[in-house]
Amino acid sequence: MFLLRWLWKNMKGDRAIYCVALCMTVICQAMHLIAPHITQEIIDTFLVGEEAAENLRTGTDRLVFLLCAMIGFTLLRCVIQYSSNMCYERASQGIIYRVRKVLFDNIESQDAQFYDSHRTGDVMTVVTGDLEMVRHSIAWIIKTTLECIVLYSATMVFFFTIDWLMALCMMVMTPFILLITKGFRRTVGPFYVTLREKLSEMNTRAEENISGNRVVKAFAREDTEEERFDVCNKAYNEANKKAAFTWLKFFPGLEITAQSLSVICVLFGGIFVAWGRLSFGEYAAFAGLVWTLSNPMRTLGNIVNDYQRFTASANKIIELYYSKPFITDREDADDVPGRLEGRVEFKDVSFGYGRTQVLHDINFTAEPGETVAIMGATGSGKTSLINLIPRLYDTTGGQVLVDGHDVRKMKLKQLRGGIGIATQDVLLYSDTIEGNISFGNIDLPEDEVEKYAKAADAHNFIMHTPDGYDTIIGERGVGLSGGQKQRISLARALAVKPSILILDDTTSAVDLETERNIQDALDNLDFPCTKIIIAQRITTTRRADKIIVLRDGTIAEMGTHEELIRQNGYYREVYDLQK
């Protein structure tokens, strides 16, 4: 019932259409029951009746009228049916559209914690396969159920008006059908849950293979990949068969029970006719409508089958539909309109992923306009530290303050809107270079795009690409060298004119001359900006107002270049290495 309520909720806007469609379905079913009467009328009047020949001679007009009525009736029924089908499609597409929107918004707002446990392939399965299943259900399951109910009850009412005993006999199989379907429903449910799990796994496998295609080729591991995929492919194949065979296990029971109605009809009908309880004509009425009872019974199995499938998918959708990220705007969030000043302060910050503690007691301040460089060994917590500023993660202790506001008490949009970040793992979109640079600021005029590309020293190589700024680059920027990707990512971060610019080792793959150009450009930005830069090179860090050296998640050294060189610590060592 929860599922149905959920569907109803998402049908908002198409509910009227859907109800109209349901009504039309009822009308169509009724017309189905009436249609044979016109044919019957023609046959009785012009073919088999006693005055048939006479009627034919005098009543050609009536014949033509009846024939036209027959065609017209069918035409009308078809029009109604077509309209109702289109209404169902409209309503189901409407639901899908609305659910897709919510799912997309949810996908976009989930925090890192969610993506640590949900793989891309899993989420893709929900929004592709599962959603398709739901669409099918709305268009088919509910409509068919209604058809069955209407047909079955109309016929039963009709039967009872003829003869209650015979009608009861015809009903005798119904409980058995219900019992079998109930058993089937219980058995098949888990199989569909497994089936979609296997689909999800196969999706993930393929997704990683596509994303990692370079590594696969580099290690000549095509065979291994095929073997691994084969396992998933086979598992999915088996799961499909298992679900289908479960249906086939119950199929004879359902089918025989439903079809045995015609046996009952002949047997009891015959006996009642023999006893004189029924006339031949009344028997014919029963016999002629046996299908209207047995068809719904047979379809019931299919409905239950699809419903179980639908449930398995819908549950996954609902899980994503209602999943809320931990990191969201608080209700009592401060309103900080306008441009941020760019003051960043860490107060006794500690942070960890799960049980592993990554940062302890971090205290530092970056005043507006200052440049803070962060250094440290691999795994010392540099990236974790900067991730706390745009609140990609929440601290486990202490406070991160931007312009004096705790970031947890700021609106995400206002906080992140003031931050430009170039991450270490450069991720570009399969879009034009211009589209990638203006990613965070889509209204950026063309000449400014070029300006920031120049600042990131990317303009020259961009002009060498086939279509310049309109060149489409592949997903994740494949086809560009590491250094080129980094520079586009840097231009993208600059293009939002941030108050706080965070660079996570953004120049590691560029050559030194380029790096120097970038350094100069960063010193001369045309907007005020606090810079927090993770870097390995002394050439980058020496210009900073403050250098922080992290060791095992704590601040080991902090000061200016000159101060740290005198300290004989990590910084000095690195300095000597690079001298």
Binding site: I210, N240, L267, T378, G482, L577
Partner: protein, 587 residues
């Protein structure tokens, strides 16, 4: 090759032709015998089904009186028997066809995946990955129905149609002709619908592909979207894509839904025509004939309606099938030559002979490049980004085929040997240190599947990540999620490096392998590496001069090709580009 992005429809290059169907049937051909057997079973089931009305007829005519009751019971029993037999027969048939259908799907998917492994980088580089993904998974699922019940039903209904046609002509050929008059009308309607329908469903598959491609990118790039507060813009784009998908769907389904009423109306009209013609123009005709013909005309259109429905699903499926076959037909540009031999064990000499290369026609990246590397030498490639350093190392592993010239390893032209034998002897660490989801151990073993745990640990000690891995909760068996989330970039690089080392390559290629590793860790790593590089030819691309200073030879690559080559001291003495680069780094 034109690049594609999420909101560009992919034009289908091949027009529809019967080849697609034939090709689909080749997949079914493998299961010929089972398909024929189930067809045979279907026929028996149908015949059993036909017996039932006869029994009922007999019972009604003879047993509906007090004396007939025992016979009536026998009839009922017979009827029940017929039902039971036909139900079990159709169950057997369904079971067989489910197997066949699922196996065909499995086959198609396997072939598709196999083909994907052979496709060159360009294929992956030139389109959103989501578009590739939906083909392998969703599109293949979409054709499953047509592959199972489609084939059987098509044959069955055609046979049905023929039998009824024969019956009709047998009973009254004049009226049979009246029924057939409906066919051209019907054909015209169907043709009208079909042409539009096919285009409409192609559009649906295109729009769904766009939608999914965008979705895929959005999932992968979610963090970037968040830090750039792009959620609303992205939602807008998604909304646009979803709307256009809904639009084309409604149009396509609008055409598809027409087929069924069209059949219904034509069917009823011909029936009316039979009554009219029979009653008005054929006075001598017997009542039984008209009744029977009316009945037959209904039965004649029944299979036609089934066939039209089948056509509906078929046209829908073909729009996906076309995409699947298009992908299967995607040329494998870098592949083993016919009769290619295995690369003998590599000693490590590498020669570039007049190598010219361009990614896309027009922009040449390398021109007439020549150089020789002796076995065991370590070569550093330095120079501005985008000059072609990565391209050079990619050509050694034959990730791309040359536009001109030759690359030789130990005097074997690498285009003459099998790719697997070549690449499996090389260790290539790419800029993008991709980590698969799974345990750290799984990722390390990717380098060499049969490596022992001790060997794995040794490799990790060399790159200096062993101690860190040991601090993790499950050590080497700690699970890392997709793309190695949870590890820092530097740690990922170290793991990728260990993975490469483990493969014990004869030629080692390190492309920015240590860019994200801090200077001090790198220093430690360097000592281990130096030991390891002994006896192997290695190509190292790096910007950090401390990494490259110790190489046997340094090649300066610029837009003009290799402009300087020599040892560190030689190049410094030369006071050229390398000298400039070196002094730029000095603090």
């Amino acid at each position: 090759m034109a690049r594609n992005k999420f909101d560009i429809d992919e034009d289908l290059e091949t027009p529809f032709n019967i080849r697609h169907l034939k090709r689909a049937l080749t997949y079914a051909a493998k299961y010929k015998s089972r398909i024929f057997l189930s067809l045979f079973i279907s026929v028996i089931a149908s015949v059993t089904g036909l017996v039932s009305p006869l029994i009922v007829q007999y019972a009604v005519d003879h047993c509906f009186n007090r004396e007939g009751i025992p016979m009536l019971i026998i009839c009922a029993a017979g009827l029940l028997a017929c039902i039971v037999i036909s139900v079990f027969l159709s169950r057997t048939r369904s079971k067989m066809m489910t197997r066949v259908g699922q196996d065909i799907i499995y086959d198609i998917r396997r072939d598709l995946f196999h083909h994907m492994q052979e496709l060159p980088f360009e294929y992956y580089d030139s389109r959103p990955h989501g578009k590739i993904l939906v083909r392998v998974i969703n599109y293949v699922n979409s054709v499953s129905d047509i592959m199972t019940n489609g084939i059987i039903n098509f044959i069955l209904e055609t046979v049905n149609l023929l039998i009824i046609m024969i019956f009709m002509f047998f009973v009254c050929w004049q009226l049979a002709l009246v029924v057939l008059c409906g066919l051209p009308v019907y054909g015209a309607i169907i043709m009208f619908i079909k042409n539009r329908q096919r285009k409409a469903w192609q559009k649906v598959s295109n729009k769904s592909s766009n939608l999914n491609a965008y979705l895929h990118e959005s999932i992968v790039g979610v963090q970037i979207s968040q830090v750039f507060t792009r959620e609303e813009v992205n939602a807008g784009i998604n909304d646009k894509l979803a709307k256009s998908y809904r639009g084309v769907w409604m149009k396509a389904v609008g055409y598809s839904n027409l087929v069924w009423p069209a059949t219904d109306v034509v069917s009823i009209t011909t029936r009316a025509a039979i009554y009219f013609v029979g009653l008005v123009f054929m006075p001598g005709i017997s009542l039984g004939t008209i009744l029977a013909m009316g009945d037959y005309s209904g039965r004649f259109w029944q299979p036609l309606m089934q066939l039209s429905n089948l056509m509906n699903t078929f046209i829908n499926a073909v729009s996906y099938l076309e995409r699947i076959f298009e992908m299967l037909d995607e040329p494998v540009t870098v592949k083993d030559k016919i009769g290619a031999k295995d690369m003998p064990p590599i000693k490590g000499d590498v020669h570039f002979r007049d190598v010219t290369f361009s990614y896309e026609t027009g922009s040449t990246v390398l021109e007439h490049l020549n150089f020789d590397v002796k076995a065991g030498q370590s070569i550093a490639l330095v120079g501005p980004t985008g000059a072609g350093k990565t391209t050079i190392v990619n050509l050694i592993s034959r990730f791309y085929d040359l536009t001109g010239g030759k690359v030789l390893i130990d005097d074997n032209d690498i285009s003459e040997v099998t790719l697997h034998s070549l690449r499996s002897q090389m260790g290539i660490m790419l800029q993008d240190s991709f980590i698969f989801s799974g345990t750290i151990m799984d990722n390390l073993l990717y380098g060499r599947l049969d490596a022992t745990e001790e060997e794995v640990k040794e490799a990790c000690r060399v790159v200096g990540i062993h101690d860190y891995i040991c601090t993790l909760k499950d050590g080497y068996y700690t699970r890392v999620s997709e793309r190695g989330a949870g590890l820092s970039q530097g740690q990922k690089q170290l793991i990728a490096l260990a993975r490469t080392i483990l493969s014990d390559p004869k030629i080692l290629v390190l492309d920015e392998a240590t860019s994200s590793i801090d200077a001090k860790t790198e220093r430690k790593l360097q000592n281990g590496l130096n030991h390891l590089l002994k006896g192997r030819t290695s190509f190292i691309i790096a910007h950090r001069l401390s990494t490259i200073r110790n190489c046997d030879r340094i090649m300066y690559v610029s837009d003009k090709g290799i402009t300087e080559s020599g040892t560190h001291d030689e190049l410094i003495a030369k006071r050229g580009d390398y000298y400039k680069l070196y002094t730029a780094q000095a603090v």
